[in-house]
Structure formats: structure tokens, C-alpha cells
């Protein structure tokens, strides 16, 4: 469809749910009229986190679990860049759990796409924080004994202003959700069901297809109580769509020189401007 966001050879397994996410992302960026140099994808480590290598945009492929801190700083430093995170459920809710909580509080302008395959892909099939209780894995031989993290509910509890869910097997829906998240002013969580065809034999394309349904057009996503109810829906029917969305001041809105001034990266540097601070020490 376009060449600006050309893709590269990937290292994903044939049939992996990550491909649907890559395709939707390329098209979402194109339809939003963005140019490669205006976009940054930050990521951690994992199969999902390889995204910045497969699409031509600026990329910060950092450490496992640590995509949020650099992404936050990139937004603070240069508000002209569109900052997106592509990372796994282990990366985001496991190793990066603490950052997840605090990134929501900061509300920097970031679209956070979690490739939620309910398993660790890159390290070959151990449980992730979203793996179902009882599911057997390459490490949890007797089945997972912990309750899973509920990302949507956790994000709502922390006060996130944009919380949505989509499915890699539903291109149109996913592309739409991505555009909404990218255009949202503030931290936007988009949890994406992403079948791992190699290691997760439970949550397959069919498993999701049999269960997911789109929230109806008249669903009121500004109603938090309702959102909590929807967040709890799990089992035979699992809702996708914008679950909650309200306007909130962003990190930048809270600091006047960031909000009203040019991006920090354009600030002029002059040592002499600091000389007056010597008076504090006289």
C-alpha cells in the first residue's frame, strides 16, 4: 500500500499474530499522513519488541521491560514526535510492571501497543503475566498457579485516560484502534490479542475468533463504572474496542514551559545564562 513505511525481513514464525499488527500499524501510520522521521517506536525485548526493526521509523529498541521510561522522555523532550511503544505482555506487565503503573500516572503522550500473546515467545514458551491460571507451559509443567494480571482493569484503576483492546486477527478494527490511540492526547493503552502459533496452543486464532466481539456503537466509553464491568468480561465472550476514553491533562500540559514553549530539544544552550545562579552562594 505504501513504501514510506517499508518493512524488512522479519524473524517471526510463519503465521504469527505479530504480522497482523505490523500490517495494521504500517497502514495506520500512512492513513494518519505521518512521515517516517516524525514517528518513534520504542520497545523492550521479546518477539513483539522487534517491531522497530521491521518498519522504517525512528526506533529505540532498549532493554527488557524498559520501553516506557525512554518513550516518556522522548515525548517530554520533543513533543513534535509521535511516540509509539510496541512490546510484549511479559515486557510490559512483568519485567516492566512498575513502569506501567507510573507511566499511567505521568500521562505522557504515548500510544502503547501491547502484543498480548499470553506467553513468553522469545524465551520459548514460559508463562507470561497474562497466561491463564492452570495453563501448562514449557516451564509451568503442572499449570500456572497464579491469577493472571488484568491489564485493562489495572489501567482503569490507575486512571488511564484511554484504554482499548483489539485483536491481531481483525485488521480493520485493529487499524482503527491504533489510529485512535495514536491521535489520543496522553497515555493510551491498546492491549492486542496476538496469537503465538508456536508456543501458546490454547489462545489460538480460533480461540480468539470464537470469543471476541466488538463493543456496539452506542457503548458509552466515558462511563468508568461501565468500563470496569466490560473489563471484567472474560470467558465465552470477550469485548474489543475503546473501553474507556476521557480527556486528561498530559505530562506536558502540567509544565508551562513545555506546553507553551518550543520542544526542549530546540532550546538554546548558553553557559552564561546560568551565571546568575552564583548569587545563591554569596
Amino acid at each position: 500500500m505504501n513504501t514510506a513505511f517499508e518493512t524488512y525481513e522479519t524473524a517471526w514464525c510463519p503465521g504469527c499474530g505479530n504480522f497482523g499488527i505490523l500490517n495494521a500499524l504500517k497502514d495506520a501510520l500512512t492513513e494518519l499522513g505521518l512521515k517516517p522521521h516524525q514517528v518513534v517506536i520504542a520497545s523492550g525485548i521479546g518477539q513483539a519488541a522487534k517491531m522497530p526493526h521491521y518498519i522504517n521509523v525512528n526506533g529505540f529498541n532498549g532493554l527488557h521491560g524498559r520501553a516506557l521510561p525512554p518513550a516518556t522522555a522522548i515525548n517530554i523532550v520533543n513533543k513534535d514526535l509521535k511516540v509509539i511503544i510496541d512490546s510484549g505482555d511479559g515486557d510490559t506487565y512483568g519485567e516492566g510492571g512498575n513502569h506501567f503503573i507510573h507511566a499511567i500516572r505521568r500521562n505522557a503522550n504515548i500510544a502503547h501497543f501491547v502484543h498480548d500473546n499470553q506467553i513468553y515467545g522469545l524465551t520459548k514458551g514460559q508463562a507470561s503475566p497474562t497466561t491463564a491460571k492452570g495453563q501448562k507451559t514449557s516451564l509451568q509443567f503442572d499449570g500456572v498457579i497464579l491469577d493472571p494480571v488484568k491489564p485493562i482493569k489495572l489501567a482503569l484503576t490507575m486512571g488511564a485516560g484511554f484504554v482499548a483492546r483489539s485483536f491481531s486477527g481483525n485488521y480493520e478494527h485493529l487499524k482503527k484502534m491504533m489510529k485512535e490511540a495514536i491521535m489520543y492526547d496522553g497515555y493510551a493503552l491498546l492491549d492486542i490479542f496476538q496469537p503465538c502459533v508456536t508456543f501458546n496452543k490454547v489462545n489460538t486464532f480460533k480461540w480468539y475468533n470464537d470469543r471476541v466481539y466488538e463493543l456496539p456503537d452506542d457503548y458509552d466509553y466515558t462511563d468508568l463504572d461501565n468500563a470496569f464491568k466490560v473489563a471484567d468480561e472474560w470467558g465465552d465472550r470477550i469485548p474489543i474496542g475503546i473501553i474507556y476514553k476521557v480527556e486528561k491533562p498530559t505530562y506536558i500540559d502540567n509544565i508551562s514551559f513545555l506546553k507553551d514553549g518550543p520542544p526542549l530539544v530546540d532550546a538554546k544552550l548558553d553557559p552564561m545564562m546560568a551565571e546568575k545562579y552564583l548569587d545563591d552562594f554569596r
Binding site: H37, L63, P69
Partner: protein, 562 residues
């Protein structure tokens, strides 16, 4: 001529404010001041004290014998009265002790009269200033800057009352003009960073590093700097790296335990070649250690911080003045080589206030080494372009139309894409290590002080500079052939001067605030020179010049040298 006083009391009794009034007053009288803090890791109670040394010449360290002590509690009397010089005076409220060799007053009644029980200590300060003949109006200017309204009036009344209660006994040679500044090590780091154009600081509070962040935060609005208190030190370094990648000068800092959490991020800076400046204000470890005390125990850890092999620079700071200029320099080096630069300090330097010449801001240069369109080849940008020097042109994301910047924590090719190629791996390792060779040229040799080609060579690094400098002066006065090398830049390890002086010296005495002589191990490893003797102190308290002087005298007496 210099004098030395101590203010002691429990946490919460306000000794910080009292000593600040004393320090600033003395400084504004044109005197040189050096203050040192000894405090406990608690908010109320316990025993804290501050030592203030002052005189008409620059002072570089603390001393252990006192001309006057203000005791706000009994502990201070019990612990410190034995350190009074024979002519020394102990000032206290008569309710603490009525021993008539002390200067005891009814400060409580004075405070009551001034209408504020909290100004009891200010009255004691009045007594102290009178003993030394310090002009009262100067102390008023300090109070004026510190307090407002009723509190200010009560403090002025109290200091005046105290002043009128005592007689002058010491003759302090007051200076005429007051050009100087009075600043702590941490404040100097902060000021150096602001001068260098830091725009982003992320950190998590940890004693004794916190005040670097506090001072930058105080200036953040005026100077347009974002200071973010993050959830942990892991976030701190990763955020700072994000900010630097996006194009601004970024910094983080902590003390040992927090720095330990940053280590994976330092490694990330290593492979991604993102410039970053980090301060490590040491306190005694391991783990939580001795939170409010001083030590130089982290040197080897800092040098080796980060897994894998990659170039980094480590600069240890000697004094507030050095801290200011070296912090500014660190940003230029980080930008030039696209590496992490770590500044090493410690609690002694962090919390000590020193009178120094005002910093010369015209000496601070800003060298960003950032490229634009010219870095593209046929419209394509290679973030990790293989070059002769190992340094690749750096562009800022979003600033060059049509070019994108990809950095990667995995081994990568010239574009930043993940690679599994053994050939590319070797080329990238070589590229990064080439910068280490260049850095070696950049490194500043240690500072030499003392007699040329001395028989006795003292080696030290970082904040022991002040005590060693003064000890060398004392030893020279005794007619000894003694000199010292004070290391500032410490990684890559500078070898020229240590080889030169080390071969000549009959005895090398290595002086460090740690138990394992880490500098000595670096000298052996890198310069094949080893110390004959060691003066090592690791009780959490800084060694004084007197302490070093006495140890050196003992060592040389028992050898055949003197």
C-alpha cells in the same frame, strides 16, 4: 591562621540552620570557610554535628580540634568536650550543665523574651560570633535572607542578645572584600550541569546524592529543565537515555545501591552509543550500608559497571570547584564519544561547604557533536556507520527530513538492525573499542603537589584531595621530601605521571577511604607500580589532614627514610 568550631545536637534541633548562619556570616566577612556534616540516618533525635573551620587562607579539609563548641544537648558535651583546644570554649544552655569551666547562659530565658523558643540556638550563635569578634551586622544580612516577619525579628533579637552576653577572646583576621562563593560539592555538580545545558534529569532520592537533583529542580523553571522523580533507578537511567537519544543533554545520579540498579542501563548506553552523564555519590556499602556516612568503596564497581566490554569514562571529583568544571566537561566528552561518563563523588564532598573563587562560566564550552543532512549518504542514514575513529555521525530523530534513527540494545549492523553475523559483531566491537583508545588520549593526568621528585609519594583520588593537600603542606614544613598525586580522571587509567614519580619514589603511601586500596590495585594493573604502605580509613568518617600527617610520620619514622 584558622579556627575550628563545632555545633552539635539532636536531629530536629536545627543545627543545620545554625551552622548555615555561622558559615554564611563568616564567608560574608571575607573569610575562607570549610564545613563538614556528620549526621545520622534519622529525622529526629540521635546525635548530629557540623564542623566549621575558617581563616584568612583557602581551607581544603576539616580538623579535629576545636576552638569553640555550641552544645545543644548533653551528648555533644560528652562526645566532643575532650576535643576542645586548651583555649577552647564550650557554649551551652545552663540547663544542660552548670560546670563553671563552660560558657553557660540562660538561653531559654532569652528565647522566651524574644517570643520564640526555637531561637535558643540563635542566641548561642550570637555568643560564638562575639567570641571571634565577627561583626553583628553581617549576621543580620544572613538572617534577613533566611527568615521573614516575626521569625526574622525573633532571630535578630536572639542573636543580638547572645552577642551582648559574651566577650571577644579570639582575633580573627577579617577579610576586606567578599567576592567568593560558598558552595557544596553536590551544588557544584548541579551548577556545572546547568551551565553545560542539561535539559533533563531523572532520579530517585538516595542520600547523599539527592541534593544534586534538588538544586537542579529549584532552577528547573527558570532554566527550562525537566526534573522527574521516577519510580526507581532503573527508570531513571532508561529515561535519561531516552531523553539523550531524542537530542537533549540528560543526566541521572544516585548513590551505590541506586547506581547498582542502573548498571544494566549503563551497558545499554554502551552498546547503543547514547551519551549520558551519571553521578555516583558514594556512601559506605555493601547494600544499604552506612547511609549518611562517607567512603570510597565503589571505585572498581563503577569502573566495571555494565556487562560486556565497552568504553566509558570515570572521573572522580576532588572539590566543589573541580566538580563544577568536570561536570561541564563530562557532557562534552559524553557527546563527543557517545559514551556514558560517570562522575564519582562521596558524602564528604557532597555535603561539605567550601569557600571558593566564583566559577568562571566563560570557561564552560558546549560541544554537542551533532550532525545534520551531511550525515546522509544517498539519502540514507547509518546510525552506526563504521568509521576510522569508531565515532559515527549522530543525528537527532525528527530533525532531518527523510532520515530515521534506529538504536538497538542487541548487536546491530550499521543501520541499527539486529544482527547475528559474526563478522558484523567483530566490526562493531572493534568500532566501540576504538573510542577507548581515543579516550586514553583525552584523559587528564593526576594533579601533582609537593616537592619535585619526592622520596615519599602519596597517592589518592577524589575527595581525599583536600586532606592530602594539607597533609603534604604540613610534612613539607617538617622538611620532608614528600609529594602527592591526586587522581581525578581515573578510567581510562592515566599512567604517565604515576610511572614517572612512582619509579623515583623511595616509598609510596596510598591513601584511600576504603578497606581494599582500590586505587593501588589499579596502579598495579595499569602501570605496574604498587604502594609500599597504605593509609586506609573505612569507619564512615573522613580522614583529616592531621590524621594523614600523623600516619605518614609514624610510617617514615619506622622506616630508615627519616
Amino acid at each position: 591562621m584558622d579556627y575550628n568550631v563545632l555545633i552539635g545536637g539532636a536531629a530536629g534541633q536545627g543545627i543545620d540552620t545554625l551552622s548555615y548562619i555561622i558559615e554564611k556570616t563568616l564567608k560574608r566577612c571575607g573569610l575562607y570557610v570549610f564545613s563538614m556534616k556528620d549526621y545520622m540516618s534519622r529525622v529526629r533525635g540521635g546525635h548530629n554535628f557540623i564542623q566549621v573551620r575558617f581563616g584568612d587562607k583557602p581551607i581544603h579539609s576539616h580538623d579535629e580540634k576545636f576552638d569553640a563548641i555550641i552544645a545543644l544537648d548533653e551528648d555533644t558535651v560528652n562526645l566532643h568536650s575532650k576535643s576542645l583546644k586548651p583555649s577552647g570554649k564550650l557554649i551551652l544552655d545552663k540547663s544542660i550543665s552548670d560546670n563553671d569551666t563552660y560558657l553557660s547562659f540562660d538561653f531559654k530565658a532569652v528565647a522566651k523574651e524574644c517570643g520564640n523558643p526555637r531561637v535558643l540556638g540563635t542566641a548561642a550563635v550570637g555568643v560564638l560570633l562575639k567570641l571571634f569578634g565577627i561583626p553583628l551586622d553581617v549576621s543580620h544580612t544572613v538572617l534577613d535572607d533566611e527568615f521573614k516577619g516575626d521569625v526574622l525579628n525573633a532571630n535578630i533579637k536572639a542573636i543580638d542578645a547572645g552577642y551582648s552576653m559574651a566577650k571577644q577572646i579570639f582575633n580573627v583576621p577579617l577579610g576586606k572584600k567578599d567576592d567568593n562563593i560558598y558552595i557544596s560539592g553536590n551544588e557544584a555538580i548541579a551548577l556545572g550541569a546547568i551551565a553545560a545545558g542539561v535539559k533533563f534529569y531523572s532520579g530517585y532520592p538516595m542520600t547523599p546524592s539527592t541534593s544534586v537533583m534538588t538544586y537542579i529542580a529549584k532552577k528547573s523553571h527558570d532554566a527550562g529543565i525537566v526534573v522527574e522523580q521516577v519510580e526507581d533507578e532503573i527508570s531513571a537511567i532508561n529515561m535519561a537515555l531516552g531523553a539523550s537519544y531524542a537530542g537533549v543533554r540528560a543526566m541521572t545520579g544516585s548513590s551505590g545501591g541506586g547506581f547498582a540498579l542502573m548498571v544494566e542501563g549503563i551497558s545499554l548506553a554502551g552498546i547503543t552509543e547514547i551519551p549520558i552523564v551519571i553521578t555516583e555519590v558514594q556512601r559506605p556499602g555493601p547494600a544499604t550500608g552506612f547511609p549518611t556516612r562517607t567512603e570510597q568503596g565503589d571505585l572498581r564497581f563503577i569502573i566495571h559497571s555494565g556487562h560486556g566490554e565497552f568504553p566509558k569514562m570515570v572521573i572522580s571529583l576532588r572539590s566543589p570547584e573541580d566538580a563544577f568544571y568536570q561536570t561541564a566537561r563530562a557532557f562534552n566528552i559524553a557527546d563527543k564519544y557517545q559514551i556514558p561518563v560517570i562522575l564519582v563523588s562521596d558524602q564528604y564532598l557532597a555535603d561539605s561547604g567550601v569557600t571558593v573563587k566564583p566559577f568562571d562560566f566563560t570557561k564552560v564550552t558546549i560541544e554537542r557533536h551533532i550532525s545534520g543532512h551531511e550525515a546522509l549518504e544517498n539519502g540514507v542514514y547509518k546510525r552506526y556507520k563504521l568509521t576510522q575513529s569508531g565515532i559515527s555521525p549522530r543525528i537527532i530523530p525528527g530533525k532531518v527530513e527523510g532520515a530515521t534513527v534506529l538504536i538497538d540494545s542487541d548487536e546491530h549492523d550499521e543501520f541499527g538492525h539486529i544482527t547475528e553475523s559474526e563478522d558484523v559483531r567483530v566490526k562493531m566491537v572493534n568500532k566501540r573499542m576504538k573510542k577507548f583508545k581515543l579516550l586514553k588520549e583525552e584523559v587528564q593526568e593526576p594533579l601533582f603537589m609537593g616537592a619535585e621528585n619526592p622520596d615519599i609519594l602519596i597517592t589518592c583520588w577524589g575527595s581525599t584531595y583536600g586532606p592530602v593537600k594539607e597533609a603534604v603542606d604540613m610534612l613539607l614544613k617538617d622538611g620532608m621530601s614528600v609529594g602527592a598525586l591526586s587522581f581525578g580522571d581515573i578510567w581510562p587509567f592515566p599512567t604517565k605521571l604515576i610511572k614517572k614519580y612512582g619509579k623515583f619514589a623511595k616509598m609510596i603511601i596510598d591513601v584511600e577511604q576504603n578497606a581494599t586500596a582500590q586505587l593501588d590495585s589499579l596502579m598495579r594493573e595499569n602501570a605496574l607500580i604498587k604502594a609500599d604502605e597504605h593509609i586506609l580509613k573505612y569507619d564512615g568518617r573522613m580522614m583529616s589532614s592531621r590524621y594523614i600527617y600523623e600516619r605518614v610520620r609514624e610510617m617514615t619514622r619506622s622506616s630508615s627514610l627519616y
